[in-house]
């Protein structure tokens, strides 16, 4: 079991609630509302029904016989790519938007990197009848044009964030500025296990469905737990979701970061976006701009619970380069007929690189999203 943070919202020395005073009461209200909802069987039943009948859960496991044979490992995918809207983001968004509605909010704001959280938010808002505004870095608006159009089709307003690096971190800033101004009637649906308490905890609880299912499914398929549990890490929601099912097993937990956004690997503790966590920053605490081929991982920070798991040595956070990711993307497509999201191609890349050290082992990989959104970008890269 992962730990439950106390009133100070800490995982060890990470987390907290470093927000403008205006937002403190809203965070406290959310904390209470989430606690209440999570312990209410009516809410849980409503959420579980939506996850089953709308999102398509449980997601299946797929064993990759071809790639596994080639690499000398047993490779199993948890298929979050098959969820409605194409990624794990829907798990958290259905929970959060149901909660927003229960709290009487009329509108949600969200930030998005690759656009998957934005699409999921727009989808849930359309389904449950709330207004939706999505902030997205201007750079990402260009490289994920398809998702921008999808969000607009779903009735959401998409606003390009033009400040700073014009990627995910700046979209978070804009969403927070919106929320500071609209907090009375607006719910901020954060897209990962980041932000001020209770978001890292709450989003993890919503994503823990991945780990709970995967653990039972692995026991059925393998008769035991896998040796490695792997996922990509942007803010870290899909990773914590699958880790949550295996922290108390012998499995090694591997969160793969992009080399250009390796918060755990290259960062030091800092405070931004409401939380204390590992952060890529300069000697004066200016947050550095991440550089990654994948918009969803282009983030200089990481959720506080990952910082905690790294600090106690329970999880490991290696990184892979963009060039390795491009190979990984094609590898899974060609050997298994599955086009992964670029985010997940990071994990494929790590597995391919480390396979010589894992011969005969069982590796569970969270395939957090499908690659449709990345096909145009890859077309440019591969020519």
């Amino acid at each position: 079991m992962l730990t439950t943070p106390g009133a100070d919202g800490r995982f060890g020395e990470f987390g907290g609630r470093f927000v403008p005073e205006t937002l403190v009461p809203a965070c406290q209200e959310l904390e209470a509302a989430f606690h209440d909802a999570w312990n209410d069987t009516v809410f849980r039943t409503e959420l579980n029904d939506l996850l089953r009948d709308y999102a398509g859960r449980p997601s299946i496991l797929t064993e990759c016989h071809n790639l596994g044979r080639k690499l000398g490992i047993r490779l199993i995918l948890k298929r979050e790519d098959l969820n409605h809207t194409g990624s794990h983001k829907i798990n958290s968004v259905l929970g959060q938007v149901l909660l927003a509605k229960r709290m009487g909010k009329k509108r949600i704001v969200a930030e998005t990197g690759a656009g998957q959280h934005g699409v999921a938010s727009a989808t849930a808002a359309a389904l449950l009848g709330l207004g939706c505004k999505v902030y997205m870095g201007e750079v990402d608006v260009e490289r994920q044009a398809l998702n921008v159009f999808r969000m607009r089709l779903l009735g959401a307003e998409v606003v390009p964030a033009k400040s700073g690096s014009r990627t995910l971190k700046d979209a978070v800033n804009e969403a927070m500025r919106d929320w500071v101004a609209t907090v009375e009637h607006t719910y901020y649906a954060i897209g990962s296990v980041m932000g001020p308490h209770p978001y890292p905890f709450m989003v993890r609880q919503f994503q823990s469905v991945i780990g709970t299912e995967a653990r039972a499914q692995c026991r059925e398929l393998l008769g035991t737990d896998p040796d490695f549990v792997t996922a990509c890490v942007g803010g870290g929601s899909n990773a914590i979701g699958i880790f949550s099912g295996f922290v108390d097993t012998h499995a090694r937990l591997i969160g793969v970061e992009p080399a250009g956004g390796a918060a755990v690997g290259r960062g030091v503790p800092g405070v931004v976006h409401g939380m204390r966590s590992y952060l890529m920053q300069d000697e004066y605490g200016q947050v550095q701009e991440a550089q990654s081929i994948s918009a969803g991982l282009d983030y200089p920070g990481v959720g506080p619970e990952h910082s905690y798991l790294a600090s106690i040595g329970r999880a490991e956070y290696p990184s892979v380069t963009d060039a390795e990711v491009i190979e990984g993307f094609q590898l899974l497509a060609k050997t298994e007929g599955i086009i992964p999201a670029l985010e997940c191609a990071h994990v494929v890349a790590w597995i391919a690189r480390e396979a010589p050290n894992m011969q005969g082992k069982t590796v569970l990989m969270n395939l957090s999203g499908r690659g449709d959104k990345d096909v145009a970008q890859m077309m440019d890269i591969l020519g």
Binding site: D8, G16, R17, F18, V19, P20, E21, T22, L23, V24, P25, A26, S163, G164, K169, D170, N173, M176, R177, V180, A181, T182, V183, E184, P269, G270, V271, V272, H273, G274, R276, L279, Q281, E283, Y284, G285, Q286, V287
Partner: protein, 265 residues
Amino acid sequence: MAVLHTGKLESHLRARRDAGRKLLVPYITGGYLGWTDAVRAAAANGADAIEIGIPFSDPVMDGPMIQLASEQALERGATPLTILQELRSIDIDVPLAVMCYYNTVHSAGNERFSHSLAEAGVCAAIVPDLPLEEATEWCFAADGAGIETVMLAAPTAPEERLPRILQRCNGFVYAVGLLGVTGERDELASTATKLAARLKALTDVPVLIGVGVSNAAQAVEASTVADGVVMGASVMRRLIEHDADAVGEYVGEVRKALDAAVGVK
């Protein structure tokens, strides 16, 4: 409950307020082209204290104007060290407060940062993303270094929260005038004077409204209830679009309006 000592900024502001004056605190982004001249111009034209912003890469409480100033200051190579260094030699007799986001403090360390402020002659710090619940360690270090910590109070605060904020606040209370980030608005939000009235009923510490106080008329309106105002975006716009002289002129204009409203000659 320990009583916070009254520091230099608070004594200065209290004395002026008690003499019947409305308080004017302009904000200037440190490191922006011409900023030290702007500080001198503000001091010479009737500022009661000056708030110096230390630019940060991710200023979530700031609107477009101060974001722009921060970005350009950073591009010019501004760091907390260069800004404090320049402040040392600025030679004005108006008390200074620094406004910075918490990561700027965190990366230096609470102790080291508060001492570096004190050494530069800064009286107080305003840290807009460090709410009461997270402020303990900073406040301990700041108290030790003789730095006053200006706390923010927001219109969203429930009744029981304000006294707890006030208990931990010295220098002045920063009453956030509206729901939103810094930037000029056509009108003073109704939340501004409402919050100031709630605070005035609870404390004798000077209550200043900041965020969204955009011109002399709004400063006067805010000061009918509050002890004064903090003005940021409208000041920085003058520095960005014109120069330090324009800042001086503007501060002088607001000063005159505030004085006229209370009948000071």
